[in-house]
């Protein structure tokens, strides 16, 4: 196994493009190293992208944030302005692993590891962030929800990797939130996760909403009906009931030791309501 740590995007592209055999991009390593230890993967080449400066930047580009894919969770948590802009994304980031894990783990890695239960993915999806993907054939832009295609699988082509995420400008009176359910408070894999991002008009009517569920399908879902349940309403009890019903209806989970189909389906609705309530509070404040 060969380890490379290029310092430029071009060098990384060159390394990734020229390989035969299994190649793995490494950022924080909190998934890749575990998979190696568990004999799940046996890469021939590891390309560590942490030393590429532009992948480590957090930049406010006139209200539109750009987040380097190798920025660690801890670095993001320490950025007060980003926390204020995207509290729901940070709800997810704060739940990744432990303090130690977040010191290494990156949002880019969380997205590209393609776990259906990844905590930062539903709120990244509801933020409508666009990933900048680079590879041997140049650069392309991919919405976050289109990166993962199934457990451990992504739409990235051979030699491609995510450089950064570009967030849209935050409208006034908007707020996002993410909640997950785990039996314990920390260090557990989400049994169900739900992110809601919504915008109100000055009369308090919801004009825009997006709802994403994690851990109830092969990848994080966008639930259109759940968003429709909120749009045009003051996010009142009736809207919340419709939201819960839509979230539960969209869930197609599996039975496993962490939860049954029935449990996950029901909790998806419960969490959607609760996340929407937090997002609503944030939009109003």
């Amino acid at each position: 196994m060969r380890y490379e740590a290029p310092e430029t995007l071009d060098a990384a592209i060159g390394l990734l493009a020229g390989q035969s055999g299994q190649v793995k991009v490494l950022a924080g390593g909190t998934d890749v190293l575990v998979q190696i230890h568990a004999d799940m993967i046996e890469p021939d080449v590891i390309v560590d992208i942490k030393k590429i400066a532009e992948m480590r930047e957090i930049a406010d580009e006139d209200g539109a944030w750009r987040l380097g894919a190798a920025v660690t969770g801890k670095e993001l948590m320490d950025n007060a302005a980003f926390n204020a802009a995207w509290p729901g994304v940070m709800d997810g980031v704060r739940l990744i692993g432990s303090v130690q894990v977040r010191g290494r783990a990156t949002v880019g890695g969380n997205v590209c590891n393609a776990s259906p239960a990844a905590d930062s993915v539903p709120p990244m999806i509801t933020s409508r962030a666009i990933a900048t993907v680079i590879g041997p054939n140049g650069t392309r832009e991919v919405p976050v929800q289109d990166i993962a295609t199934g457990p451990g699988k992504t739409s990235l082509e051979a030699g491609e990797f995510v450089v950064s995420f570009k967030f849209p400008k935050r409208p006034a009176r908007s707020g996002d939130a993410y909640l997950r359910f785990t039996p314990r408070t920390e260090m557990d894999i989400a049994v169900v996760g739900c992110a809601v991002n919504l915008t109100l008009d000055d009369a308090g009517i919801c004009t825009d909403a997006i709802v994403s569920l994690g851990a109830v399908a092969a990848r994080a879902l966008i639930v259109e009906d759940a968003a429709k349940a909120l749009i045009g309403t003051p996010v009142d009890e009736a809207a919340m009931d419709a939201l819960a019903a839509a979230a539960s209806a969209a869930a197609t989970p599996i039975d496993d030791k962490r939860g049954t189909v029935e449990f996950r389906t029901e909790v998806a609705g419960v969490l959607a309501q609760r996340a929407a309530a937090i997002a609503l509070e944030r939009a109003k404040s």
């Binding site: 039996p183 314990r184 939860g259 449990f263 419960v270 969490l271």
Partner: protein, 771 residues
């Protein structure tokens, strides 16, 4: 000194990373072992092909049972404990003998220059398995025609017994009320922070086989090795280094503990094996499932008249530790209550899963859960307060000592020796705010929050004999050393024994060294089990220290030319009362009796300042306690948060309250895991599904509440210190208290907990079923 909250003498080294655990043993030329383990639950095999493994550079040997057979007196491990209940003999083989019976069973052992090479090579040992039908469900395993866990057995009923007294048939026929509860109980692994491990070397200078093991029973390990390897006792020394937790699974002698020493002998080089966590999940023993199907008969006032029922127990594939676990569960079912009649039929099923042996609590949590669930049921049915039902049935303090009608393992009557159960209950209720809880609950419910309170009692037999050893020696240097067969897994044993010794000898704690679990230092010993070492080793140290004290006073009286009764012993010296300048140190008296060629000893005493005691408690001493749990349940997700937790416990006199508080806190945390989180899952082919801490959930810091403790001290008359055991009591009533609290919180939905652990998905399911 006795009873003081002194800091643990063990901790400075451990906190600074200076502990010496099994894996810290590094010897010149040391080799490393890895075990080839069964990947399937039940299969036969004939061929083991080691050639690919042996071809790897650095691999020294691959051992199968055939390789070891010539060097063992018997390939079957001599670990069976006698019991009239046993119907099948199911001791494990040293390495699998043509048939594997659980995933994780050791089949072969690879020895290599490094642990990495050994583990890589172990994956290349090819075993040609032919699968057999699997016994993976302990309930259907007892049916006629079920797949047998051992192909040479006709059925899976490895043991069975009935615990009965009084006339239950008449009682039930005439009872005002009869209620039935069926309870599925699960309890998991011990999960000491340090997994198992063993290292061994045959010392070429004295031909002693030195064995280091992370065990709770050094002397029993030595005795089994003597038997299996046919060496005299003086040629095998078993030493316990620092051991990072035991909790029961290390009170078992395992296959690895004979294979590794034997490999060291055969190869003439030291060999070490350290278990990893994934191995520990399948290769170390655990607890698992019991099904209790119980009927209770009560009179119109809710007084117990009788209990009858059955209990089925998943015993796993072998019997490495007798049948104590279900026996404890049955005998401790009684708890602190007056129960006129009882009939409990217990059946132990062999399954193709990891063998089941006691883990902290050792069946008592299950027995207690059964009784306490019945108590809550009686209250619900008769419209009585849950505490009132318990109060009506508690054994009054004035009945102590109280003869139950139950026989212990050795046939003696189970007699509760001391304690005030009603007072313990009152103290717990007061501290837990029970009387005004209903108001708090109603106020919370008005806000849409579901609070509940639960109360549970327990009684635990502790301090099991037959004895523990202690040697107390005052050395001519003035320092004291204590040798004991008791073993230290981090409980604070060394501190406690030093305190007992200091109380008699007046020596400073820092001048007392305690050496535990080393067969080279003391010939007899039993080790750590059944919450026993404060009682047994503590009493032995007390008796020996008292003897040494009396001898020291006699010698000092001679040296000081004073009467013994005029002497004080304190601060490391013996002085004439009122004349502090007239004194001798403990070193002075020890030197006076170490002998000088040609001179007689002062006062005509025997040489040496040393005494040995092997205190034998006449019978078990019974500790008791009450837990009050207050929880909040989120009906939307089934999440349970413990808001407040009160523990009243009575383990007799306390040698060191800090140590006891540590034991109770750890014990209750184990109980919380059993109540809410821990489930060892196997599929229907006996494949384990939870083999890491992401899948098997232990309580972590945010889940563990502050345990608010009240100590009661009812001394026992059964030992000179008046102490009772405290190592397991904290665990025993937790599942009961939490279940009761969850019921109470969800009483608007009519939910009743009957299964453990109480998982979120199950709570949501129960709410849905009831509404």
């Amino acid at each position: 000194m006795f009873g003081e909250k002194i800091k643990r003498v063990e901790d400075p080294a451990l906190l600074r990373g200076k502990g010496k655990y099994l894996d810290d043993i590094h010897l010149p030329g040391m080799l490393h072992a890895a075990f080839v383990r069964a990947p399937v639950a039940h299969a036969t095999f004939s061929d083991i092909d080691s050639s690919a493994a042996l071809a790897i550079d650095g691999v020294v040997a691959v051992y199968t049972l055939d390789d070891l057979r010539p060097h063992l007196t018997d390939t079957v491990m001599p670990v069976e404990q006698p019991s009239g209940a046993l119907k099948l003999s199911a001791s494990p083989s040293t390495l699998a003998d043509g048939e594997v019976r659980y995933v994780g069973e050791p089949v072969a052992c690879v020895i290599a220059e490094s642990p990495y090479i050994a583990e890589d090579a172990a994956q290349l040992v090819f075993v040609d398995y032919s699968n057999l039908p699997v016994s993976a469900d302990y309930l259907s395993a007892l049916d006629d025609g079920a797949a047998t866990a051992h192909s040479d057995f006709a059925d899976n009923l490895v043991a069975g017994f009935t615990l009965a007294y009084g006339d239950t048939d008449d009682t039930f026929a005439g009872a005002a009320h009869v209620f039935r509860e069926t309870l599925h109980q699960h309890k998991g692994l011990g999960h000491a922070i340090e997994c198992r491990g063993v290292a061994a070397e045959l010392n070429p200078r004295d031909h002693v086989l030195n064995v280091w093991s992370a065990t709770q029973m050094a002397h029993r390990a030595q005795s089994i090795l003597v038997q299996m390897l046919d060496l005299p006792e003086d040629r095998i020394r078993v030493v316990t280094p620092n051991v990072g937790g035991g909790f029961g699974p290390k009170f078992v002698f395992y296959q690895e503990e004979v294979v590794v020493p034997l490999a060291a002998m055969l190869l003439g080089r030291p060999v070490k094996w350290v278990e990893d966590r994934r191995e520990h999940f399948t290769a170390a023993t655990m607890e698992r499932d019991q099904l209790w199907d119980m009927e209770v008969a009560v009179n119109a006032d809710g007084r117990l008249l009788g209990v009858r029922g059955t209990m089925a127990h998943d015993h796993g594939a072998y019997t490495p530790y007798g049948v104590n676990l279900p026996y404890n569960a049955a005998t401790n079912f009684l708890g602190p209550y007056e129960l006129p009649s009882m009939s409990l039929d217990v059946k132990l099923a062999l399954t193709n899963m990891t063998p089941v042996t006691p883990v902290r609590g050792a069946g008592r949590p299950q027995g207690t859960f059964a009784m306490e669930r019945l108590m809550d049921r009686i209250a619900r049915e008769l419209g009585l307060d849950r505490v009132e039902v318990r109060r009506r049935n508690l054994i009054p303090a004035e009945s102590m000592p109280y003869d139950t009608q139950i026989k212990t393992r050795d046939g003696a009557t189970m007699t509760y020796d001391s304690g005030d159960y009603p007072a313990a209950l009152d103290a717990a209720l007061e501290r837990g705010g029970y009387s005004d809880f209903a108001a708090r609950q109603a106020a919370a419910l008005a806000e849409g929050r579901y609070l509940g309170i639960g109360v549970a009692n327990y009684v635990e037999g502790t301090g099991r004999g037959p004895f523990e050893s202690a040697v107390v020696r005052i050395k001519p240097s003035g320092k004291i050393v204590i040798y004991t067969g008791a073993t230290d897994q981090g409980q604070g044993l060394k501190t406690a024994l030093a305190q007992v010794c200091a109380a008699q000898t007046g020596a400073a704690i820092e001048d007392i060294e305690v050496v535990t679990g080393d067969t080279g230092k003391v010939s007899l010993g039993l080790g750590a089990f059944a919450s026993r070492q404060a009682v047994t080793a503590g009493s032995s140290v007390h008796v020996a220290a008292l003897e040494v004290r009396n001898k020291a006073l006699k010698v000092a009286a001679h040296l000081l030319e004073a009467a013994e009764e005029d002497l004080d012993i304190a601060d490391g010296k013996i002085s004439v009362r009122g004349v502090p300048d007239m004194s001798v140190t403990l070193g002075d008296v020890a030197r006076a009796v170490q002998g000088m060629p040609g001179f007689s000893l002062p006062g005509g005493v025997d040489p040496g300042m040393e005494a040995t005691a092997n205190f034998s408690p006449p019978t078990l001493t019974y500790c008791n306690g009450v837990h009050v749990a207050e929880v909040e349940v989120d009906p939307g997700t089934g999440h349970v948060q413990v808001l407040n937790y009160v523990i009243v416990h009575d383990s007799g006199r306390l040698i060191n309250p800090t140590i006891v508080e540590g034991q109770i806190t750890g014990g209750a945390t184990h109980g919380l895991g059993s109540a809410l989180f821990e489930r060892m899952i196997y599929d229907d082919q006996g494949q384990p599904q939870t083999t890491n801490f992401g899948e098997y959930l232990l309580p972590s810091a945010p889940e563990v509440p502050h345990f608010d403790m009240i100590h009661m001290e009812s001394p026992t008359p059964l030992n000179p210190l008046g102490v009772k055991g405290a190592g397991e009591g904290g665990t025993i009533p937790v599942t009961s208290a939490i279940a009761s609290a969850v019921d109470d919180a969800l009483s608007p939905f009519g939910v009743v907990v009957r299964d453990l652990p109480i998982e979120p998905k199950r709570i949501v399911e129960m709410i849905n079923q009831s509404s």
